[in-house]
Symmetry: C2
Subunit: 211 residues, 2 copies
């Protein structure tokens, strides 16, 4: 199963399926249909069945999927059964909003710290997490192990924050900044960019296609 | 050119190229190399050249690309030369952080309004934009034309906000909420979800691959 090459687009869909399944579990459902998954994820039932069939024989024709089993299998594919720790670099509006929103409902991710280089922000508290000096990042990463650093700093400070995260031993960075970033080979770089999502949506509107 | 089917992954890369090109233009560069684009976007030069060759003969071998011309052509492919208006629904932490961050450096997108159903928030000002009552959304969309609604409401209120945006005539919704959403046929639905990006990164870490 793990040998199959999975596209980023497929990973996105699997991630959405996992989210729907967690909500179903909270509601107490033990069986879910491809039609329900399709409706809540905004794609066709046929595409859902095709995705799930690609990874194995999860469901029985006509009788739906067992929520717990399907969720476990999807998390296995995603690699999120034991997810990395997440820290935030930058305790401005976005950083604080992230901590406040939290990661409940995700596959076990949790914010384990927020760091800022501005001494006037260290010590502030948000959702029970205290802003720490960026100088503490390295020690924190050493304790946490595998860490994804979410970069939420001011414009122009992105590369500096990324370099700090990489030097501290973070395995990956997920950037909220608009600027281009460089990471060394072996460090994963992802972007959460409103502007990119807007471009994808605009292209879809103009192409008359659903995404 | 517009007849070619372009994957979401490619659109993401083109969106990053466009961002780099805008920064280069601000710096006063008139020529850019595929190596520079590759470095700042974190992908290989060969992949950049392949992407750009797919859409036409933009560059001359060995002499780089003209920044203005390449940017114009990429924006044509993205459909962002005359982008839709963007409004935010939900004036909480995320919504206000978005307005404050603005969309400078993007392909002409601008936040044209922020709306909330909580009367205690209407009238608040952020980056020169005043929070309006959600009851004003319909009139605003009618004036603006093509509108993307960014959904930044509290957990549990997502579908209600989406229904309101669709009823008001928005062409697309971009959701920051974790919950699954349903839109009618013809309305584009996108997600900006930290948890999905974390899943993609985790899968890459575990698969030992660069994304």
């Amino acid at each position: 199963m793990s040998g199959k090459k999975v596209s980023e687009r497929t990973i996105r869909r699997l991630s959405h399926y996992a989210r729907c399944l967690r909500l179903s579990r909270i509601r107490g459902d033990s069986i879910i249909t491809s039609g329900y998954l399709a409706g809540t994820c905004g794609i066709s039932s046929a595409a859902v069945r095709k995705d799930l069939a690609f990874f194995g024989e999860f469901g029985k024709q006509g009788s739906g999927y067992e929520v717990d089993e399907l969720l476990y299998n999807i998390e296995e594919i995603l690699g999120t059964t034991d997810p990395p720790s997440v820290v935030v670099i930058g305790a401005g509006n976005i950083g604080m909003a992230l901590i406040e929103s939290g990661l409940a409902g995700t596959g076990g991710y949790r914010y384990r710290g927020i760091f800022d280089r501005d001494p006037s922000r260290t010590g502030l508290k948000c959702a029970g997490i205290e802003v720490q000096s960026i100088s503490m990042l390295s020690a924190a990463v050493q304790k946490l192990g595998e860490v994804i650093a979410v970069i939420a700093v001011s414009p122009g400070e992105g590369q500096n924050a990324v370099d700090t995260a990489v030097a501290a031993g973070c395995s990956a960075v997920l950037s909220f900044t608009l600027e281009p970033l460089i990471v060394p080979e072996g460090v994963i770089l992802g972007f959460v960019e409103v502007s990119t999502e807007l471009d994808i949506i605009t292209h879809s509107i103009r192409a008359g296609a659903r995404i």
